[in-house]
């Protein structure tokens, strides 16, 4: 039931150390999230935000980085919905080098639900909450630290 996406690590997304810049991994995970909403969940974010006035700003993020990604690598992203409440959702993302089962980075990202006009908390629209709950899966463990 996990959502899967494959992304290619871009020339611009590595840093001076020639590995993927650490905030860019969150950007890659968010791209997978956008595609999950559009292609799997059936709630493309542009319409959700602009027509329905529902925003999903991030209130917490947490990432374990274990093995670096480099220019040209293919990153397999696995996205899980691991917690849904009336007005917040927690996603778990795992990044792997294509063709490798080992998780190379893992992130947990929590979003609140807000009314875009007031930029204030609101509960999820019912159909969106139901769709998210239908995809609930257990969370996976943190990755052992290198440092």
């Amino acid at each position: 039931m996990s959502y899967r996406a494959r992304l290619r690590v871009r020339f611009a997304d590595v840093d001076h150390g020639r590995v993927m810049y650490f905030p860019k991994i969150l950007h890659y995970f968010h791209q997978a999230l956008e595609d999950f909403f559009a292609d799997d969940l059936g709630f493309p974010m542009p319409g959700l935000m602009d027509r329905d006035r529902v925003g999903l700003p991030i209130v917490h993020a947490e990432v374990d980085y274990r093995r670096p990604f480099r220019f040209g690598d293919e990153m397999d992203v696995e996205l899980r919905v691991v917690r849904v409440s009336a007005n917040s959702v927690r996603y778990e993302f795992t990044g792997r080098h294509a063709g490798d089962e080992r998780p190379d980075c893992r992130a947990w990202i929590q979003a609140a639900c807000i009314d875009m006009d007031r930029f204030a908390a609101r509960v999820f629209p019912d159909d969106l909450r139901v769709a998210l709950e239908a995809r609930l899966e257990p969370t996976q463990p943190r990755l052992a630290k290198r440092g």
Copy 2:
């Protein structure tokens, strides 16, 4: 003893919701870290990496977002060194809207020390570890969640 920097939120760094894109806050914090190394600690990162072959890749990051930043806002960044071991360091960053005492986001970022030639763990050079330890400060609490 905290290191302070002021950054202006840029036209490009907000997302479709017109608030700062959540990974960009980590990018702003890392810019403050680069300036801390260059201007305060006395170990500019380019020399550290290219001449001394010492890299400091991020192995863990964690961020609480409480109040959004918008285009044109001034962000005051406070950087603390909150843990130093033989081969890793943990920084704490707090972002505030200029002129406001309340923390609007807070992050903890942990870096390992590696040998750039082997991309493998090593202990800190002595002078760098001593300089980091001299700036040790207590950590501050997590920010209450909105979601």
Copy 3:
């Protein structure tokens, strides 16, 4: 013979005006270029740079922007090789909203060929020059300005 790619405009890639930030269009075009080298031309850039020590830095770029791209839009990119000399190549990129024939932005990007070890000009490797020449196409006109 043009190379075609489709890219989705991302949540993060619009600016405060809620249209794609103008340098990001060059970034999208460069992503198409990376895929062209890897998937069509048969010279993936990571190997070209790291193993063959051949770099292709941009020496000139020029872009006409006519109709904006917004979050969620699909951008069809058409890439043409429009000039090849012994040590430089000129690409033309056209961006269109998916399903629309009209060009919405067009760019010309010129790259030099360098030796990565000396960061100095060199001629193309023969096989790369031959592959680029085989894809030569006529250039297309500039887009009428709005301003």
Copy 4:
């Protein structure tokens, strides 16, 4: 009368070739433009866009890259207003390595004036046009190409 800014090249803004990614130079120039509007011209862009509903989208950009910028370099930016019409403005940017008189990159960027509500062309507000005209300067030559 040129506007001057100094920017530090960031860890994240170089590419796999370890030189500044070519679209990032336009991003650095736009940051200088934002500061020029806020600190020199007296029309901070957030107010101009949100309160006055005046937008200045880019319709053309052109860049000559001659000498690369690397992580840690200081870039001196010189900004000139080189053409003003009723509804468009052309800026010229020159980037230099700090302490060096030679231009290392030069860009020309043309913006239109639009009504943000209709996203359609309009003439400049009088006070903004007058302020821009007061800063008019002659344009400088293109930089010789490497390629």
